[in-house]
Amino acid sequence: MIRLEQVTRYYGNTIAVNELSLEVSQGEVCVLIGPSGCGKTTTLRMVNRLIEPTAGHIFINGQDNSQIKPERLRQSIGYAIQSVGLFPHMTVAANIATVPELLHWEKSRIASRIEELLILVGLNPAEYARKYPNQLSGGEAQRVGVARALAADPPILLMDEPFGAVDPLTRERLQSQFARIQQKLKKTTILVTHDLDEAIRLADRIAIMASGKLVQYDTPETILSRPANKFVHDFVGTDRALKRLSRISIQSVIKPSPAIVMDVSIEEAVSVIGSRPSVWVVADDGRFIGWVDMTSLSAATSVREAIVPGDVDEIAITASATLREALSRMLGQGLRNIPVVDEKKHFIGEVTLSDVEAVTAETAETGA
């Protein structure tokens, strides 16, 4: 748990952080966001004493951090930054081993930890452990940076724009990977970002800052539906209804839907379709294959022939996806309903555009 109490930091006469109070509960992700120069980095770096506050106190699990020796404090807090700062003269493995070595872990323990972490961040240890940072892509370097921050299994994680310096697609992947890791590890995290979508996606709570002050500190849902003032209102923008969809899981709108296997007769297929526009087709083991509709059936001699094949990765969506992803997939593929599959790509049900619209309208009302 991290608690900031009336923390102030001056640089000469400019005030970078102004009487900021903030509490991050155990296992929660707090995202700091706000215009450039509003004091996010300064706030973050005061937690691990890279910067000392001019006034105020910061408590880590109830203990005033100014009472803890800076080196020891920092070794117990994971730290990842935008520029990554991998040590260019050390291998990926040696980079990750930094804090464990400072803590005098045994060699064998360090080695197995390196392997474990590389797997966690999705890099093959056999391939990557001995590489040097200049042999990594930007995204790979960021992942090694995260692995290094997690090396000694610190309960707290500080991240300053950790996914800032990579292309949008890679950032997207890193974010979902981080979300997965965080779900598993439950680190108490403060993360700084410029990207509101990233904040909404990853935060348990968002702290919006302006000119060194905390403007609003709330769950993403509340920030989006009830901005505290005009500044927050403008900051989250006019598309906040859409943004809010990325906080809502499709779980509540997944509907069971009939599906046929390939060997059924055309008559059976037609009867299953009934008044529906189409029906999904699955393999014998339940894997999603595609769909058939009246038009495709009428031109075919068997169901097998009538199947419109669908690439699972392009049209189907997993049960853990958000409404926003479902919506963007429907719009992108021009479909009024899309199939939902589990991790093994087995068909579960479907989501329809009208249901998504209904939920959107509902949240828009409560948010107004």
Partner: protein
């Protein structure tokens, strides 16, 4: 296509042209005695036609090869030809000198003329160019760089060149030569060592505090612009005053002239390159790297030892290399204020107008500078951490 064909190695071309024009001036000079002007002999006058043809042919080969810049193979051939030129030149010089002196008066001398120096100079320009094009094969690079010099070493030890005037100057002065060589090594070695330590300390200080950087660079830049002789002069007065005030200091060699001012001046000269490179080495460090180290709980000492030093080492050593190579040459001047060193032969030779005596001092200094340069380069390669040089695989 045509561009490709005429794309040439202009450095090698310059070397080849120097080499080809070396046939114009005299190659060897036959003198009745060591300081009297003698008769100058061209390449074809000083050797039989076979020898001349081999050298001329090799130079023509170099010329053509440098017009057809291309593969590694052509670079290798260039390097080989240039080394052969060096070896054949010395073989000829030794042989011809013995022939010329046969039956001549004992005071007669055969000295190397401008033509030979031009050929050697041209050959090393070509070797330099060839080396540049053999970057990924250290074995060949070293072979191309050192084969000629190694052959010269062999010829010297077996006495093949004993009839050349410069070696006749050497014989009879062996003891003095060894003494001055050791003195030279001592002067340059101790001053570079001290300059390195001091320079690194000052460089780090300058990199750490902006307040200190100004004055440190002001002083080390100024000293660099004072001519060396003037600096020795400036040091003589205070040091002799000091030694008169405290005669006990003389026992440690602290006098107005001699070793003390020489070493002090040499230290001052070796300072700037080391200070500058240390400063840059520490300043160019990626702030993200240091911040990450701090953020993970590395202590100041840890950051210094594990991050800053290994990352700045290649640049610092580059500064030491510059300082060392420069000092080898500068140390020659210290002979003027009685500190000794190989410069002693140069100034003796200048006084007596004996060119060969000058060379006896100058040539070992050049060889020493080349050796120091090569050794420092090897050290730098070893000290450069993997991961700084390796590109993407």
């Amino acid at each position: 296509m045509i561009r490709r064909f005429i794309s040439r190695d202009s450095v090698a071309l310059v070397g080849s042209i120097i080499g080809l024009s070396s046939v114009l001036p005299g190659w060897l000079t036959l003198k009745p005695s060591r300081i009297v002007a003698g008769t100058s002999l061209r390449l074809w006058q000083s050797s039989d036609w076979e020898g001349s043809t081999v050298i001329l042919g090799l130079w023509l080969l170099c010329f053509v090869l440098s017009l057809l810049r291309g593969s590694k193979l052509s670079a290798l051939m260039l390097g080989t030809a240039a080394n052969l030129i060096i070896i054949v030149t010395f073989l000829l010089a030794g042989l011809v000198a013995s022939n010329l002196l046969e039956g001549a008066a004992p005071s007669a001398r055969v000295s190397l003329g401008a033509g030979i120096w031009m050929t050697l100079g041209g050959a090393y320009v070509v070797i330099f160019a060839a080396r540049q094009r053999l970057p990924d094969s250290p074995l060949w690079r070293n072979l191309v760089s050192w084969a000629g010099l190694a052959a010269l070493g062999v010829l010297l030890t077996i006495g093949w060149l004993g009839n050349l005037s410069i070696l006749q100057e050497f014989s009879g002065r062996e003891e003095r030569f060894v003494q001055e060589l050791l003195q030279h090594l001592f002067l340059f070695g101790s001053s570079v060592a001290a300059g390195t330590v001091l320079g690194i300390l000052l460089g780090i200080r300058a990199a750490r505090s902006t307040g200190a950087a100004g004055p440190i660079f002001f002083i080390s830049n100024i000293t660099q612009t004072i001519p060396s002789l003037a600096l020795f002069g400036l040091l003589i007065a205070p040091l002799s005053a000091l030694s008169f005030a405290f005669p006990v200091l003389r026992e440690f060699g602290i006098r107005g002239v001699g070793v003390a001012p020489a070493i002090m001046a040499l230290i001052v000269y070796s300072l700037l390159p080391v200070v500058r490179n240390t400063y840059v080495g520490f300043h160019q460090l990626d702030p993200g790297v240091i911040d990450a180290g701090r953020g993970m709980g590395m202590s100041r000492g840890n950051i210094f030892r594990k991050l800053e030093v290994p990352l700045a080492a290649p640049l610092i050593l580059e500064g030491v290399r510059t300082a060392a190579v420069q000092s080898v040459g500068l140390t020659a001047v210290t002979a003027l204020i009685g500190a000794g060193g190989l410069g002693w032969f140069i100034f003796q030779g200048l006084g007596q107008a004996a060119a060969d005596l000058i060379l006896l001092g100058a040539i070992p200094i050049i060889v020493l500078a080349l050796l120091v340069d090569a050794v420092m380069r090897a050290i730098i390669t070893l000290a450069t951490p993997k991961g700084l040089g390796v590109g993407k695989q």
